[in-house]
């Protein structure tokens, strides 16, 4: 029996394609990293493995060399380095500190010319037309040589002229003996700008200059002053275009990170709202803000989000749509694993629940993490309306989701496999309308679905006001002409139109996209196996969804697995009953509001009456 067991174990190890233990251990336990010379001298060993296995081994090796031992949190491997205080610091070669763009962490020297030469080289001064270096003298006794560096297109000229150069060049004879330190004097007495910070290395100077600040270098000082002068042309705050509501705030994020953060802070005036700045993109080095509420949000979730951002090694990330693809759990699953929103009020509401937000400079969409299936069906307006209306909207949206995914497949299954289910009169009507159509129903459905997708895509790409018009005209004319030409039956036009409306009613753009693709899968399943195929598809989709996790949180929470929440999943309960935050987020404070949130209603028996004369009832009290 033991022999059989050993044989089976061997067989399993062969089947499961695990690399031999020695192979992985040699990478993970190397002890020290070979230096560059050693690496050059060592001839790479002949690798006989297949391409995919080789790449996998290389990745594993890279991971084992760069990371400290992983820490497990809710099934997540945390691999970034932690200092003694438990703070996560970026890995050595991460975009925020690495030597990835040729700009090293060299300290500034006391010689102004040396510093300027180094910076000129880094910033390609002379070739780069918008890099400005202005040298001047500060009229101290004796005169002090100084220089400012800024990017013309990113910095405010007025601020530089009137808040930096004017005081520095025109106010003379300040050597009143109060301080001998020129830098200290300049910083404290000559620069009226509201934000001045000291930087001591070339990398920091470069980064500040490239983000729109102006750096002041002074002779005989190895510290530069970075002065806030950021100012560039940007779009003003506009109405939301993808998440419109009738009732509620009409502001949307724009491409400027600072404005976006201001929009959130205006709605969340707590000092505990933290916006941690990280850099993403080894080349573009864009500012990325990780938002959460200290003392409320699960710190492990925050750490995991930061870890994934910091360990993203991409050269250019210009939108949260790209960042999202780098940090999501399972890229091959169609379901969106992050919530993107352009509404600051929605972002603030998510933060208040214990979610983590990500804002990227240059992106008008923020990301909310983790995502659950139910949150993708919710709209901001659900909460702005009274609860019965909000609940009704949710029910309509759920129906829209079902129609958008299944309606063409159900039509196909019914007409092809189970016509007995269709009432006789309707069956005769369908048969009559299909009489002259030469195609099988499956082909007919595919023609119409692809046509709708074409109209939609063309409508988006056509510039200006023609787009929506073309969409409507194209759909009407195409539908009418296709019916007249007996290419499709009229009932199918109705089916496809309802399906398209269903997809538009889904509030999340990514989810709507996933639905469009799922629809094609279900059409094919229904064409092949009728309702049986659709049922099998539903089962596989269901198991995939319940198996999916977004940042360690099960995708179908709080339904499967069941966790405590205010029941805000498929239904929408009264706001005064939403007493707890979703426990699947493991917030530090689970209670959102006390059981009696409508404090103005007195408990029964207190005898105090309302202004209208009616006795207070126990509304809002959770029994």
């Amino acid at each position: 029996m033991q022999l059989i067991g050993m044989f089976l174990q061997k067989l399993i190890s062969l089947l499961s394609f695990n690399p031999p233990e020695d192979e992985t251990r040699s990478d993970a336990c190397a002890g020290r990293e070979p230096n560059v010379q050693e690496q050059k001298m060592q001839k790479p060993p002949q690798d006989t493995r297949s391409g995919r296995r080789r790449i996998r081994a290389r990745r594993k090796s890279a991971v084992s060399q760069n990371r400290v031992l992983p820490r497990r949190i809710e099934g997540i491997n945390l691999g970034s380095k932690q200092d003694s205080s438990g703070e996560i610091s970026p890995p050595d070669d991460s975009p925020s500190t690495g030597k990835t763009d040729g700009c090293e962490m060299k300290p500034l020297t006391k010689g102004l010319d040396a510093n300027l030469n180094a910076l000129k080289k880094i910033l390609h001064h002379g070739t780069n037309a918008d890099v400005v270096i202005r040298e001047f003298d500060i009229p101290t006794i004796p005169e002090t040589r100084a220089s400012i560096i800024f990017i013309d297109s990113l910095a405010s000229r007025d601020t530089i002229d009137f808040a930096i150069l004017q005081p520095l060049m025109l106010i003379a004879n300040l050597n009143d003996g109060k301080t001998d330190d020129r830098l200290e004097m300049v910083k404290r007495r000559l620069l009226p700008g509201n934000q001045v910070t000291e930087v001591d290395n070339l990398r920091a100077v470069t980064e500040d200059v490239l983000s729109g600040a102006t750096c002041l270098l002074i002779e005989e000082s190895d510290i530069a002053l970075s002065i806030e002068t950021r100012s560039w042309e940007h779009r003003s705050i506009d109405k939301p275009s993808a998440e419109m509501v009738v009732r509620g705030p009409q502001e949307a994020f724009n491409e400027t990170l600072k404005s976006n953060l201001a929009l959130i802070r205006r709605r969340m005036r707590t000092p505990d709202l933290i916006s941690e700045m990280l850099k993403v993109g080894t080349l573009s080095r864009v500012d990325c803000a990780v938002l959460y509420i200290e003392g409320l949000t699960n710190p492990e979730l925050v750490d995991e989000v930061k870890r994934r951002i910091l360990e993203t090694k991409a050269d250019h990330i210009q939108d949260t749509g790209i960042l999202e693809q780098f940090i999501e759990e399972k890229p091959y699953v169609l379901a969106p694993q992050t919530i993107s929103t352009e509404r600051p009020d929605r972002m603030a509401a998510f933060l208040a629940e214990g979610y983590v937000g990500i804002m990227l400079d240059g992106s008008p969409f923020g990301l909310v993490l983790p995502a659950t299936f139910w949150s993708l069906l919710q709209s901001a307006e659900d909460y702005f309306l009274r609860w019965p209306f909000g609940a009704f909207l949710r029910a309509i949206r759920t129906l829209a989701l079902i129609l958008a995914i299944f309606l063409p497949a159900i039509y196909l299954a019914l007409t092809n496999f189970h016509p007995e289910m269709i009432p006789t009169d309707l069956l005769l009507a369908i048969a009559a309308s299909r009489e002259k159509v030469p195609f099988p129903t499956a082909v007919e459905v595919l023609i119409m679905e692809i046509s709708i997708e074409l109209i939609r895509e063309a409508g988006v790409r056509i510039p200006g006001v023609i787009g929506p018009t073309l969409g409507i005209v194209g759909a009407l004319i195409l539908g009418q002409a296709a019916v007249a030409a007996s290419i499709v039956s009229p009932i199918l036009v109705v089916i496809v139109a309802i399906t398209a409306l269903g997809a538009f009613a889904v509030p999340n753009f990514n989810m709507a996209f996933a639905i469009r693709l799922y629809r094609f899968v279900y059409v094919l399943l229904a064409a092949a196996l009728g309702f049986y195929g659709v049922a099998i598809g539903v089962f596989i989709q269901l198991t995939t969804y319940v198996n999916l996790k977004s940042f360690g949180v099960p995708y179908m929470s709080p339904v499967a697995p069941y966790t405590r929440s205010s029941g805000d999943a498929l239904f929408r309960y009264p706001v005064w009953k939403s007493e707890i935050r979703p426990s699947f987020l493991k917030p530090q404070q689970e209670e959102r509001q006390p059981p009696i949130s409508r404090g103005w209603i007195e408990d029964e028996g207190s005898g105090k009456s309302e202004p209208g004369g009616a006795k207070g009832k126990n509304h809002g009290k959770r029994k």
């Binding site: 399993i12 499961s16 099934g75 099998i536 319940v546 499967a560 697995p561 069941y562």
Partner: protein, 367 residues
């Protein structure tokens, strides 16, 4: 993907999965066999069987308590030594594997009859197996969560079906109340305790339960809920298809759903029910396939059950084609697997429990 042995499942998920496991057979020829056993008292047979199975389950729990921290496979080995332990485990495996194989055939035949009469049976079976293989590969967490999401649907379907069938029901047909006589009814009920044998599933996955100490409560709750489904539905089918007509209805659930008539516009809605039954069948098959693989994994102390799944799928497909027709498959299911197999899976733990107690007693005496 998280290591499968680290996957933990909650109480609700465990109960939902066990209820699915126990009651999905209601959708195939179960009521017909109950009619064979109990005649007009077909609905009484599941009550007796479930009570017997409850006693069997309590014996299993008692055995598990003798060896805390282990599941039934480990407990069997510790109680009776490796050789007898492995033989006992093979017995459990045989029950679940045979259940899986027969259900593949029966569900596929149901789909072939109800939905796809012109599609080859092998294609229907292959699709079933692929779907359940995918789910079993994802692991226990995925299957049990799918069961939890699907539970309201299946409860709703059963309630709707039973309510909509009321106009067609004639409850006078359930008399005489004890059918062939109380003695025969008791005998048939006890020897068919295997119809609730799937409750053994909880003792196999006990280590993966979030609240391991509540396994007894979970089992009893699952048995109670599943027994209610079985009894109410069998009673209703007996009222719709009175004995002896009920002996000739292969799929009473399906046949009954074809009788639902809600006016000229809503009729022949059985396809909608079959849609949900297919999903239930997939959950059941995924659970039984997973359990069979887990038993072998624990028995041979393998690091993972996953490489076993493709082999089981091919074996299941092959064996499912062995019975020449549906009556033969159902005969094997109810007359062999659910009778002797069912008894065996409760009797084996009883013997093991006695052995464990004797061993414990002799140890105390030695001291």
């Amino acid at each position: 993907m998280a290591n499968e042995s680290n996957q933990k499942i909650g109480t609700r998920e465990a109960i939902a999965a066990t209820v699915y496991f126990l009651s999905t057979k209601l959708l195939i020829s179960f009521p017909q066999h109950m009619a064979e056993m109990g005649q007009t008292a077909a609905w009484v047979v599941p009550i007796i069987s479930f009570i017997t199975a409850t006693l069997g389950f309590l014996i299993i729990i008692a055995l598990l308590k003798c060896y805390p921290g282990g599941n039934l496979i480990q407990a069997s080995e510790e109680a009776a030594g490796p050789v007898i332990g492995i033989i006992a485990s093979l017995g459990y495996f045989a029950f679940f594997f045979a259940t899986t194989v027969i259900l593949i055939r029966e569900f596929s035949e149901t789909v072939s009859t109800a939905l796809l009469p012109r599609t080859p049976l092998s294609v229907i079976m292959a699709v079933f197996i692929i779907a359940t293989l995918v789910a079993a590969y994802m692991g226990l967490e995925a299957i049990t969560r799918a069961a939890l999401v699907g539970m309201p649907l299946i409860i709703g379907t059963l309630i709707l079906l039973n309510v909509l069938l009321l106009p067609q029901s004639d409850f006078d047909t359930i008399f005489p109340l004890f059918g062939p006589g109380l003695g025969k009814l008791l005998y048939n009920g006890v020897i068919h305790s295997g119809i609730a044998g799937e409750v053994l599933f909880l003792s196999i996955i006990v280590g993966q339960l979030d609240e391991e100490h509540k396994v007894q409560k979970m089992g009893l709750a699952s048995l109670l809920v599943a027994a209610s489904f079985m009894v109410v539905s069998t009673l209703n089918y007996s009222a719709v298809f009175p004995y002896p007509l009920s002996l000739h209805i292969a799929y009473p659930g399906y046949e009954a759903s074809t009788l639902i008539y809600m006016g000229r516009f809503l009729q022949r809605i059985e396809v909608a029910f079959v849609f949900l039954w297919v999903i239930s069948a997939c959950i059941h098959l995924a659970l039984s396939g997973y359990t069979a693989a887990r038993i072998i994994q624990d028995m041979l102390k393998l690091p993972s059950y996953k490489p076993l799944l493709p082999a089981f799928a091919i074996l299941g497909f092959t064996f499912a084609l062995v019975p020449s027709d549906v009556p033969e498959a159902t005969y094997v299911d109810f007359m062999i697997v659910k009778t002797y197999g069912g008894l065996a899976i409760f009797v084996i733990p009883l013997i093991l429990l006695l052995t464990a107690r004797l061993k414990a007693g002799s140890k105390i005496n030695r001291r």
